[in-house]
Point group: D2
Chain length 344, copies 4
C-alpha cells in the first residue's frame, strides 16, 4: 500500500521525539525528513539513544529549512515548533500544497486579538486561520478532519479539560459560570529546554501552582468551552507542576444544571464517546500512570451532593494524547484511516 | 531550668519519628518514654538510623501501655496513634493528671455524630470533648492554649486550608458557599504502613485524586470554617496524591464577598498573622520544597478578576506544620513558652 | 494461523502484569487463563486499570490451581510465582505435557545443594532439573531452546551481568578471579508486596546497598560465568536500591587477560551478538531510561588503562529483558518463531 | 562574644545556598556579605524563598567583586565558585589577610601538572598552593587546620572515599593496587546550572554511569590515598548519576592485606574516628536518606570471604559533609572552636 511521506519539523524536543517514535512504527507513513536546528547532521540514535535499533535509527536530522522540506518530498509536515515559528513554516508549506499538522498554539485560537494578548505579539499568519481545523477528534468529529490541510492540534491542558467537559456543556448539564479547573502536569510539558527551574534538583520534592490566573492555555480552553455551551464561558484555571516526567491530571468542579447528576454525565459521555477508542470512562479515580505511554484519556465523575457540585477527573499522557499521539490520531482521520492506526 | 518530662506514644510512625526528632533537641523538654508496639525493646538509633549520634540514640522504645507511661513520670504525653486508640490512652492519662497532646482525630470534632459518620463508630471518649482545645495556634490564639490539659492537634489538610481561609471568613471576605479546595499531598501523609498502594513503584510517576467527596478531614475543615464564618460552611474538597515524600499544597478558589480583593485578603492576613512566626505571606506561588523540614506555612493570594474568583495557595510540611511541629508549637504555648521554642 | 494457548500463573505481580501486557498483543499466542490467588474473580481491567480497553480487559482471573489450568487447555504455562511455589506447579504441568516457562529461581541452579543454601530449603523438584534449559537466548543459543519443555528464565541481575561478561570469559579476555560487579535496581525488582521498606516515603531520596555479599542471584551468576569460563568463577556482587520504578544498571570492573582491550571486547560482542536483536552495543554510557519498556539491553565498554581494568556497563528493564520480555523471547524461540515476535 | 565576619562568594549555587543556611544560624559568625553575579541586588528571601523569615532574609546579594568584599570587612571568605575563578578571588583576599575557605578544586591538588591535565589549563595561582591545607578534618587532624589561612575543602566524592579508606591504607589493611570504587550521586552535585541533561524529565527514571575512567575527582582521590598508603595508589573510580536531589553513596571493593578482616577495619576506624563527631560507624548498609540535611557520614564494612574482598560503604549529603558543612566544620576548627559549632 502506498505510504504517506511525512516530515517532522523541530523533531528534537519532547513532542518531536514522541512523534518520531510514533511515526517510525506507523504502518501507513514513511518518514522522509526530520529537522532540528540544534541536532542537524546527527542521527536519530545519537539524539535519541532509546531509538537505537529502530528502523529510523540511522536517519539524519537536517536543518529546519523550507528548502530541506521541499527536497524531502514530504506530503505531510508535522510541526513541533515554538509558537510563531510554526506559522512561519506553515505558510510556505501550505502554499506548496503540503498538509500541515501543527502541534503549536499558532492556529488554535480563532481570535487574533486574543492570540496577541496571550502570546505577546501579532498573529504571524492570520490568513491561514480560516483553513485551520481545531483537531480534537472526539470533539470536532471525523468529518471535520477528512482531507483537512491544516490541523491545529490542541494543547495538553485543553485536551484534558475538553474531553470531560464539552459533552456536558453541549447539553447544559453544568452551569457555565461555575467551572473551576485544577490541573497537575509533569515537567516534560515545559519542553526540553535548559531552564534552571526545570532541573531535577528544583522539581523533585516540589509541588506548586504556576501561571494562574492567565496561563496561555486559558483562552483556548474558554474558546472551546464557549463553542460547546453556545454562550461565553469563563473559568478559573490553576495549573500545577508536580514531580513526574509525564502526565496531566485535571480535576474540574462545577455546579450541575438542569438537574444533572453523575448518571446524566455518564450518559452524555456514552453518547459522545461510545465509538471513540481513546476515551476510557472509568469508575476509579483516573491516575496518570495508567495512561502513560498511551493515547488514552481516562475520565471519571463523582457527585459531591453535600456541596452541590459535580467533580470531573481526567488523566492523559501530556506528550501523547496531549500532543503527539493526538496529532497522529487526527492525521489518521484526515487521511481516511482508522483513528487508532499506529497508536495501539 | 526545670524541663517538662514528656512521653511520645506510638513513636515509630512518621509523625512519631518527627516528634522524637523535634523533642530530642527541645531545650525545655526531657523525653522520658517512647512507646511503640512493634518497636518495643529496640533503641531509637535502631528504629531511626538517622538519629544515630543524637542524645536519644540509645533510648529504648517500650511497649505502649498505660503502666509504662505511669512509670516514666511523664507530665505530658504526645499521642501519635491511630484514631480510636488515641482516646483509649487519653482517658487514663487525663485521669492521672497528665497533659495530653493528641495528634489523632479523636478530639478534633465537636459532634460525636459527625465523628461516628466519618470514623465508622461511636466516639471512644465523649466525656473528654469538652476539655479538648482545637490546637491550631494561629486560629485559636495563645490564650486558649495556656494551661490546656488536652490539645486536639489539627489534621494536615485542615491546617493548610484554615490558615489562608479563616481570616477571610471571619471578615466576610469570601462567599461561604463558593469554596472549592484542591489539595496535593505527599505519600508520608498516609503513614508508615505496609500497603501496596503506597509502594514506590505504585506512587512514582503517578498523579491521582482520592477520597473525594468525603475525605475524613472534610468535617474538620467544615467545622472550623463554619466557626470562623459564623454560618454553616460546606465545601468541595478534593485531595490528590503526588510523588513527593513530604508536603501539602492547597489551592482554594472562592468568590470574593463585600468587594474583597487581593489587598483585602492580605490586610486580613496581616491583622491576624503579623505576630505569628510560622505563617509566611509570600508573593510567589508557595512551593512545598520551601517549607519541607520546617514548621512554616507559606500562603499567597491571586485575583482571578476574569472569572471573579480569589485564588488562595498554601504550602506546608505535612509532618511538621501539618502534624508534629504544630503539636510542639501548641505545647510550647500551653506551657507559657515562646511558640518557636525548639522549632527554628 | 493456529495460536498457542497460554496461561499466566501468578499474574498479579509486576512480572505477571508485564506478561499479561506482552502476551495480550502477541500475534501467535492466545491467553486462555490468568491465575492469581488474591485477584481471583476480578477482571484484568480491575486489577490493572491501565489495561482497560485492551482485548484482555474483561478476562477474569481464576484461582491458582492445577485444576483451573487443566480446564483452560493451556499448552504453555508461564509461572510468575515465588520460588518453591513455582516448582509445585511445574511438576503436574510437565506431567500433563504442558510447556512450562518459569520466571522463578526454581530451575536456574544445577546444584540442589547451592539451591538449599541460598533459598533456605531442599529443592522442591530435583527430578525436573535435568530437563530444564537455562533460557538466556543470547547465551544458550536458539538450538537449546527449540522444543524445550521447561524453560528456566534467568534472574534480572544475572541477565544484566551475563550479557556483557560471558563472551569475554568464553575467550579468556578477562581474569576470572578479578571480577567486581556493582548493580543498581529499581524498586519493582522487589515485587508488588506490602513491605514498609518499599514504600515511596522510604525509597524516595534514598540510595543504599543491600544483600551483599550473598544475594540470592549470586550463585546463578557464578554458575553461568563458570560455565562460560570453563573454570570456577567467584565474584563480588553488590546490589543497590535506587529510587526508580524500573531498570537495572550493572557496572563490572575486571582485569583484562591475554592482552584484551576495548576493541577485543567489542569484537567478542560482535561475534556473539551480531545476529541478536535485543543486545545493543552502544558508545555512550548505558542509561536505564533508554531501555525502559523494551526488551533491549544496552552494553558498553571503557578501558581504564591507568588502573589496568576493563569497565563494562549494561542497562535493561528489569521487568522485561530481566524477566517477562526475556521469557517471551525464549518462548518464541522454543516455538520456532522469530525471537522478536510480539516484542517490538 | 565577638563574632567572625564572614562573606560567601558565589552564594547562589547549591553549595552557596547551603553555606548561607548554615552560617545564618552559626553562633560565632556574622555574615557580612553575600556575592553573586546573577543575583546581585536581590535579597536572600527572593533568591532562596525557603529562607523567608530567617535573620538573613532581607540581606542583599552584591556583585562578586574584590572591592565589595573589601568594603564588607569580611575576615573570612567562603568561596563557592567554579574552579579557576576561585583562585582569582583567593589571591587578593589572601594578600589582604582575609582567611579563605575554598570549596572549589583550585587548591586541592599538590601537583600543578595534574591540575592542568584534569582541569584543562595552567594552575591559576600556584604560589598559594604551599599555604593551602587540604581541609578534611578527620584525615588532616585539627592541628593542621588551626589558624590556617587557606583551606582547600575536599570534593564530595573524595570525602566519601577517604573517610572509609584512609585509616585502612595507613595501616596496610588493604592492597593498594586492588581498589575499585563505585559511587552514586544525586543531581545537585552537578550544580544549579541550566543544562538539559540535568532536567527532571531527563534524570527521573534514569540510572547511568558517567565520567569514567577519568572523572575530575580521580586525581584528588588518588593523591590522598597515596599519602595515606605511603605509596602511589591508582584506583578505578566509576561515578553514577541517580534520581535523588542529594546524597552520595560510595561502595568500595578491595583486597585485604596483612590478614585484615572486618574487625580489623572497625578497629582502625575506632582508633581514627572515636573522637570525631560526624563519622558514624553503623552496622546496617549506609543509606543516603539517613544523612540528608546533616554533616554526618555513615560508614560500614562487610567481608566477602568467598571472593576474598572487603566491602566498604559510605553515605553522605553531598552538599553538606561533601561541601558546605565540611567547610564550616574545618572553619570551626581553624578558629579554635568545637568542630560541631552550628552544625548540629
Amino acid at each position: 500500500m502506498r505510504k504517506v511521506k511525512a516530515a517532522i519539523v523541530g523533531a528534537s524536543g519532547y513532542s518531536g521525539e514522541e512523534l518520531v517514535t510514533l511515526l517510525a512504527r506507523h504502518p501507513m507513513t514513511e518518514v522522509v525528513a526530520l529537522t532540528s536546528r540544534q541536532s542537524a547532521g546527527r542521527t536519530v540514535a545519537e539524539v535519541f539513544p532509546k531509538m537505537s535499533g529502530s528502523p529510523l535509527a540511522t536517519m539524519k536530522f537536517v536543518d529546519s529549512s523550507a528548502d530541506a522540506l521541499a527536497v524531502s518530498g514530504a506530503e505531510t509536515a508535522f510541526l513541533a515548533l515554538p509558537h510563531g515559528l510554526a506559522a512561519e513554516f506553515a505558510v510556505p508549506l501550505r502554499a506548496a500544497g503540503v498538509q500541515v499538522v501543527d502541534l503549536s498554539a499558532d492556529f488554535r485560537l480563532q481570535s487574533t486579538e486574543v492570540f496577541a494578548e496571550y502570546y505577546g505579539g501579532p498573529h504571524p499568519a492570520p490568513e491561514l486561520l480560516k483553513e485551520a481545523v481545531y483537531a480534537l477528534p472526539e470533539i470536532c468529529g471525523d468529518q471535520a478532519l477528512r482531507g483537512a490541510g491544516l490541523l491545529a492540534c490542541p494543547g495538553c491542558y485543553p485536551t484534558s479539560i475538553q474531553i470531560p467537559l464539552v459533552p456536558l456543556l453541549r447539553r447544559g448539564l453544568v452551569a457555565a459560570d461555575s467551572i473551576v479547573i485544577n490541573s497537575l502536569s509533569g515537567t516534560s510539558g515545559a519542553g526540553r529546554k535548559a531552564d534552571v527551574s526545570l532541573l531535577f534538583a528544583e522539581c523533585n520534592e516540589s509541588l506548586r501552582a504556576y501561571g494562574a490566573p492567565k496561563h496561555r492555555h486559558l483562552p483556548e480552553v474558554e474558546q472551546q468551552l464557549s463553542i460547546a455551551a453556545g454562550i461565553k464561558v469563563v473559568v478559573s484555571f490553576v495549573p500545577h507542576l508536580a514531580p513526574v516526567t509525564r502526565g496531566i491530571l485535571s480535576t474540574i468542579v462545577a455546579k450541575p444544571a438542569n438537574g444533572a447528576d453523575a448518571a446524566a454525565v455518564e450518559a452524555a459521555w456514552e453518547e459522545d464517546y461510545a465509538e471513540r477508542k481513546f476515551v476510557r470512562r472509568v469508575r476509579h479515580f483516573p491516575d496518570t500512570k495508567n495512561v502513560t505511554g498511551t493515547n488514552f484519556i481516562d475520565i471519571a465523575v463523582r457527585e459531591d451532593s453535600r456541596a452541590g457540585n459535580l467533580l470531573l477527573f481526567s488523566a492523559e499522557d501530556n506528550l501523547i494524547k496531549g500532543a503527539s499521539g493526538q496529532a497522529v490520531q487526527a492525521f489518521n482521520i484526515s487521511q481516511g484511516w482508522d483513528e487508532t492506526t499506529g497508536l495501539l
